[in-house]
């Protein structure tokens, strides 16, 4: 995989390029222009950046008012604060009131690493999935980030976009079709399929390469849109593979894993399944990479999970 930039940087660059030619685009920040890599945006387009101070409820409410008045609003704040402090505003002022705000949760998941639980967002999928009328997109690489930001401008529903801040490898060709709600299949594998989301997709790709060396055919799907979930892609994978593993930078409760499991049960599709994510415990201290590895979200960890899941399946 070719090394790329942090999705955060691609987000800021893409948005600035779009805002340059579309003056209706506004960015609203909560003292987060630095952490959002939006200093160049603020310098180039000062009239298109609204600073509300360290006040996430205010950020979401003001964004809703701006959107109701015809502005194309990107509300940008660390995912941990945006989706917890501002949750009632997201539920009522954005989703329920159908104000087409694009909420951007930056430095998401455990991107802040050793800064600890206050700065982690491992709850946001669960919290927002249960709210009607807001779509959730979590880009895996620079390509998906650029595409989702470009698509977001005219997306007909409120939207939550969430990504981290470490450099991500390129996973896609520039001409890959991208559509919110349509998963991208990176590879197909007859033995096991990883359905991964966000920054865990790259880990799954590496795991599939390790498994290939052991003659285990592993496929990888980038499920960049958590909601609306691409049910067809999940059910198709369940038909053509012997086991499914979901991977996410989120609690195992209420995220991709439980949503996929619920879909499979509802469709009466039964196959070996494992949801990899964060268990219900105090998160271990460390860098994002160390934390990922601790919970098995690493090439080795995911390959091992696949092997365990397939024990007895492949030989049967």
């Amino acid at each position: 995989m070719e090394p790329g930039k942090p999705n955060l940087v691609v987000f800021a660059e893409t948005l600035q390029a779009l805002a340059q030619s579309d003056k209706e685009i506004l960015v609203v920040t909560s003292d987060s222009r630095g952490s959002g890599k939006l200093e160049p945006f603020a310098k180039a387009l000062p009239e298109q950046l609204v600073e509300v101070g360290i006040a996430e409820q205010n950020l979401v409410g003001i964004s809703a008012g701006l959107a109701a008045s015809g502005k194309k609003v990107f509300g940008v704040s660390p995912a941990c604060f945006l989706t917890a402090r501002g949750l009632e505003q997201i539920k009522n002022d954005v989703a329920y009131s159908d104000n087409l705000v694009k909420l951007v949760g930056i430095s998401a998941g455990v991107s802040y690493g050793a800064l600890g639980t206050t700065h982690h967002s491992l709850h946001d999928f669960a919290a927002l999935q249960a709210i009607n009328n807001i779509d959730i997109v979590v880009p895996a690489d620079n390509f998906e980030t650029q595409k989702v930001i470009e698509t977001a401008v005219s997306h007909p529903k409120p939207l939550y976009i969430r990504f981290g801040k470490k450099a991500m490898p390129h996973l896609h060709q520039p001409d890959t079709p991208f559509e919110i709600g349509k998963a991208i299949t990176l590879s197909e594998g007859a033995d096991v399929t990883f359905i991964a989301i966000g920054e865990t997709v790259a880990e799954a790709v590496e795991a599939s390469q390790l498994l290939a060396q052991q003659r285990i055919a592993a496929g990888v799907i980038s499920m960049h849109t958590l909601k609306p979930l691409d049910k067809e892609a999940v059910l198709k994978a369940a038909l053509f593979t012997k086991a499914l593993i979901t991977v996410e930078e989120h609690s195992v409760y209420g995220g991709l894993g439980s949503t996929v499991a619920s879909l499979l049960m509802d469709a009466q599709v039964y196959l070996p399944f494992k949801a990899v994510g964060f268990p219900d415990e105090y998160t271990v201290t460390g860098s994002q990479t160390e934390i990922f590895s601790h919970y098995g979200i690493s090439p080795d960890g995911l390959a091992e999970t696949a092997q365990q899941l397939l024990t007895g399946v492949l030989t049967a």
Binding site: Q57, I62, G65, E88, D98
Partner: protein, 284 residues
């Protein structure tokens, strides 16, 4: 504004109060005290101040009214019906199964700008709406009505800082200062005091009025903006349950529904008030 027009508005307020009590009675639920306290404010806003009508409701340059104290939805629905946003008969469906007249303001009802009900939400949205006008060079104005108990929500103070920072003199915040909330007098619940000083310190141009006086309200709105570059705040001293003797200033009437007997007496009192208004003015 001629004396006759003031009297017409006063007469309207009585009609609105009767209708509010009627729909609450029919729905067997509602926020009686807070709706009655805000009647005169909405009356003056929708009949004399706001540049909005059913025909211009989609107009980008219409004035916006966002009711942050969403629980007093009955007064809003009644006034919007009177202004022709929908048939008054639609109000009979309030809170009924599958009605879009929900117990808190909803955009499913023509004329309602934003879905509100959770407290502390209207002001940030109003700030965003007023800021958009400034950015676009549009002349519309934004009004929002907050309860006094609602000021306990911290988001109001976050939004106030932004309103002053962005010099939103096209924004008018009205406090329905009836001094009561569901648990008792606001002062005993949290000690919300010195509101004029607080809002002045937050950067508003503040005026105090009798929020149940049509004349005072007409007067204060005629002076907008109070000061160039500052958001406007009207501290409207009101009486919770205004207009019916046994509902006024009673904590338990926050969302009490009148019994048959209470309803009859309330109607008699309001009819008598209307009659007195006519006699005073020598008309009707």
């Amino acid at each position: 504004m001629s004396e006759k027009n003031v009297q017409e508005l006063e007469r309207k307020s009585i009609q609105y109060r009767k209708k509010i009590l009627s729909i609450i009675k029919a729905a067997n639920s509602g926020h009686t005290g807070g709706s009655l306290s805000a009647v005169d404010i909405l009356n003056v806003l929708y009949n004399e101040v706001l540049n909005v009508s059913p025909d211009t409701f989609q107009d980008l340059n219409r004035d916006r009214y966002i009711q942050s104290k969403g629980h007093s939805v009955e007064v809003l629905y009644v006034v919007l019906a009177d202004r022709g946003f929908y048939d008054e008969a639609d109000l009979d469906t309030l809170n009924q199964y599958q009605s879009h007249f929900i117990g808190h303001p909803t955009r499913k009802v023509n004329g309602v700008e934003q879905n509100t009900g959770a407290l502390g939400h209207g002001l940030p949205i109003a700030v965003g709406t007023a800021l958009a006008a400034k950015k676009d060079g549009r002349s519309y104005r934004v009004f929002t009505l907050l309860g006094d108990g609602e000021l306990e929500e911290g988001s109001n103070w976050e939004a106030s800082m932004s309103a002053a920072h962005y010099q939103l003199d096209n924004l008018t915040v009205i406090i329905d200062y009836n001094k009561l909330q569901i648990s008792g007098p606001v002062e005993t619940v949290t000690g919300i005091t010195n509101l004029k000083e607080k809002f002045t310190a937050f950067g508003y141009a503040v005026r105090e009025v009798d929020g149940n006086s049509i004349e005072d309200l007409l007067e204060v709105f005629s002076h907008l903006p109070f000061e160039s570059g500052k958001p406007n705040l009207i501290l409207a001293h009101t009486t919770k349950g205004k207009g019916v003797s046994f509902i006024e200033n009673q904590v338990n009437w926050h969302h009490h529904v009148p019994t048959d007997a209470e309803f009859s007496i309330a109607m008699e009192e309001l009819d008598a008030a209307k009659l007195a208004l006519g006699e005073r003015n020598g008309t009707w």
